[in-house]
């Protein structure tokens, strides 16, 4: 379950099922107990009724048992006819234990079952409390009472009245199926309602998620969540988040101030250093060793300036404040100009370079100096990582709504494990990638290139195979840029 809403619904449903189940079990047990009590009352009253009939008949007729033609004692037919209508299992024995009468239900049993029943009647002494007996193997389970019949002149032994428990179970089975149906019919809407309630309770959270998600960078950090009037959990959560965002905003503001201050505080001394070096280096009659030292210093000052500029650019980009100065430019001019530089670099490195631009203008509104920086970065990079004798190809092309710039080389390539990191700041592949002699750069070039492409609404992608070469593809959209 991914959402709190799902989990709440699940818990709610589980609780509902549990309480319904307890309710159903209690209901079932109560109903079962009542049902069996009814059954027992029935057999008692059947026994009472039979005993009453016999007592009544004795008073009216006297003799109720007479020998039949074979000399066995039987119940006189008039009384037997009356007893025929008594339901369930009814058995009557004579004083000597012989069976005088069996009701239709009892007569319907198989012979073996009937033997078990008459054995039970013969062995069990009379009592008032109902007993239970199961007739093996597949006969009915009976609740029964056995009692003596003193008011009938001592002509009878015992009276057995019993009823099949199935008649009690029948009602219970109906109850169980009713419960199951009600369970299913009731549970589905209950779960749906539970889901809806959970959704309603969590709606403010969803709203907060949307609002927080819209706060993406330094430009939107001044926004705050709407705090509900009620100071419930949601209200407190919104307040807490707002406080956190205020702290974040303050840190961002501090960072912004620091960025501006640092740029000033660091660039001013750099200006002074630069000025001194420049004055000294352009003075006539400086010894050559001094000039060489000054030249090295100047290089380092420039390196530091570039690093500082890159850091500031990226810091502003993070804040969403690094703005572009866009004008319509024919990208061919930028690529051609960078191409001449690329050709010089390639010449020095012993690498063949090919620059291809389309015959028709490719006009986009871009920041000229930034795009120039992007193109030069990629070309310089390609030349740097291509061994002597290799080749680099730069191609500018349009494709419907897109403008594609590809810089491909036949160089040493990038290991697949390194590919996801090459646009990271300060990231550098292991030293094998840097050619001897060249001091590695600060590792910000590709990070800046990526920012430049994306700030123009474009993308930059890389494909590479170690030992085969690398291709960078920059895509600008005509509509955006």
């Amino acid at each position: 379950m991914q959402s709190i809403r799902g989990r709440l619904t699940l818990w709610y449903s589980a609780a509902l099922i549990l309480s319904l189940a307890v309710f159903a079990i209690v209901l079932y047990l109560a109903r079962r107990s009542a049902s069996y009590q009814d059954l027992d009352r029935r057999i008692q009253s059947e026994a009472d009724l039979t005993a009453g009939i016999l007592a009544e008949s004795y008073r009216a007729r006297g003799v109720l048992v007479e020998p039949d033609t074979a000399g066995r004692s039987v119940l006189i037919p008039e009384v037997a006819a009356v007893l025929e209508v008594v339901p369930d299992f009814l058995l009557l024995t004579s004083r000597d234990g012989r069976l005088l009468f069996a009701s239709p239900d009892a007569r319907a049993l198989t012979f073996a079952e009937f033997e078990q029943l008459s054995g039970l009647v013969a062995q069990t002494p009379p009592g008032r409390v109902p007993e239970k007996h199961h007739i093996f193997p597949n006969g009915p389970t009976l609740h029964y009472v056995i009692r003596a019949i003193p008011q009938a002149g001592g002509q009878f032994g015992t009276l057995f009245a019993g009823a099949d428990t199935r008649s009690a179970e029948l009602g219970l089975q109906q109850l169980v199926s009713t419960i199951i149906v009600a369970f299913v019919i009731g549970l589905v809407p209950a779960v749906l309602v539970g889901r809806w309630l959970a959704g309603r309770a969590l709606e403010p959270v969803d709203r907060m998620i949307t609002e927080v998600r819209e706060i993406t960078d330094g430009r939107t950090l001044h926004r705050r969540l709407a705090v509900p009037m009620v100071k419930d959990e949601m209200g407190r959560l919104a307040e807490t988040l707002n406080q956190m965002m205020s702290r974040l905003e303050r840190s961002f503001a501090a960072l912004r101030r620091f960025t501006a201050d640092a740029s000033h505080e660091l660039k001013t001394p750099l200006t002074v250093v630069r000025a001194g070096v420049e004055r000294a280096i352009t003075r006539p009659d400086v010894p050559q060793e001094t000039l060489a030292a000054l030249e090295e210093t100047l290089q380092e000052v420039n390196r530091m300036t570039e690093l500082l500029d890159s850091l500031l650019t990226l810091a502003r980009a993070d804040e969403g404040r690094a703005e572009l100065h866009r004008d319509p430019v024919d990208l061919r001019a930028i690529v051609t100009e960078a191409g001449e530089t690329g050709e010089l670099l390639a010449d020095h490195a012993g690498v063949a370079i090919e620059i291809r631009t389309p015959p028709e203008p490719v006009v986009l509104a871009v920041d000229r100096s930034r795009v120039r920086q992007l193109v030069l970065n990629l070309i310089e990079n390609a030349v740097k990582y291509t061994p002597r004798g290799g080749n680099v190809s730069v191609q500018l092309g349009g494709n419907g709504g897109k403008v594609l710039l590809t810089v491909a080389d036949s160089g040493i390539g990038i290991a697949p494990g390194d590919l996801p990191h090459i646009f990271d700041r300060f990231w550098r592949a292991d030293s094998a990638r840097t050619r001897t002699g060249a001091r590695p750069g600060a590792g910000l070039g590709l990070a800046i290139s990526k920012w430049i492409a994306e700030a123009h609404g474009g993308t930059i992608e890389v494909q590479s195979r170690p030992g085969r070469g690398t291709t960078f593809t920059v895509t600008f959209l005509r509509g955006d840029a």
């Binding site: 001013t268 200006t271 000025a275 004055r279 420039n302 001091r439």
Partner: protein
């Protein structure tokens, strides 16, 4: 031409002032915005070089006040902030151009020249070294009367060296002038351009005009 430099950092300000003086201008330096605004409105100056971060009155405020008063004095802004928005802000306020710190003095000078509409006589349109001539107007290069075809970068490097003929120009300075882009110091792109320039200019001719100063850079002299 009189130039007012408003810069609170004494070393930078002094450097700019002296540099401008050496280039034949009359420069004066003040250290805060109030003073700067007072002098700038006095009408004694032809150009204002203005730092954006100043004590008392910021550079932006000086600029705004100046323009609000209808003063059209050309203003060149010095800024440490590299972001485009600051430059754009300054330009909107009426600055005529800007230079980002740390700047090459050459660049500052070029912009001052452009803004001051300096008389052409001071920068001769045709630079000459022996029989090599470079026309900065038409960008035509000839040696011994024969035209030489140069690519844009070759032209930029040669022009820079000829402007400072007789002086050793370091690789870094040449790169900055011709590219305005920081290359990996290991690439030595200038060497490639120089090799090509030598083929076109010095090959089979005497005297050789382009000379190497090991570990530093190049110099053009007869």
């Amino acid at each position: 031409m009189k130039i007012l430099v408003v810069e609170d950092d004494k070393t930078v300000g002094e450097y700019v002032r002296r540099g401008l003086d050496e280039a034949g201008y009359h420069a004066e330096l003040v250290g805060d915005g109030d003073e700067g605004l007072r002098l700038a409105t006095g009408g004694h100056f032809d150009l204002l070089v203005l730092d954006l971060r100043l004590p008392k009155l910021s550079g932006i405020d000086v600029l705004r006040t100046l323009r609000d008063r209808g003063n059209g004095l050309p203003v060149l802004v010095l800024t440490a902030q590299d972001a485009v928005d600051f430059k754009v802000q300054a330009l909107r306020m009426g600055a005529d151009d800007y230079v980002t710190k740390p700047f090459a003095f050459e660049e500052l000078l070029a912009r001052v020249e452009a803004l001051g509409r300096r008389p052409k006589a001071i920068t001769p349109p045709v630079l000459k070294v022996a029989d090599l001539a470079l026309d900065t107007g038409s960008r035509a290069v000839t040696r011994g009367g024969r035209a030489i075809e140069l690519t844009p970068k070759e032209y930029a490097v040669l022009e820079y060296l000829m402007r400072h003929q007789g002086r050793v120009m370091s690789r870094t300075l040449i790169t900055e002038y011709a590219w305005d882009y920081h290359f990996d110091p290991g690439t030595n792109i200038v060497d490639v351009v120089i090799t090509r320039l030598r083929k076109k200019i010095d090959h089979g001719r005497e005297p050789k005009l382009i000379h190497t100063v090991r570990g530093v850079g190049y110099v053009v002299r007869p």
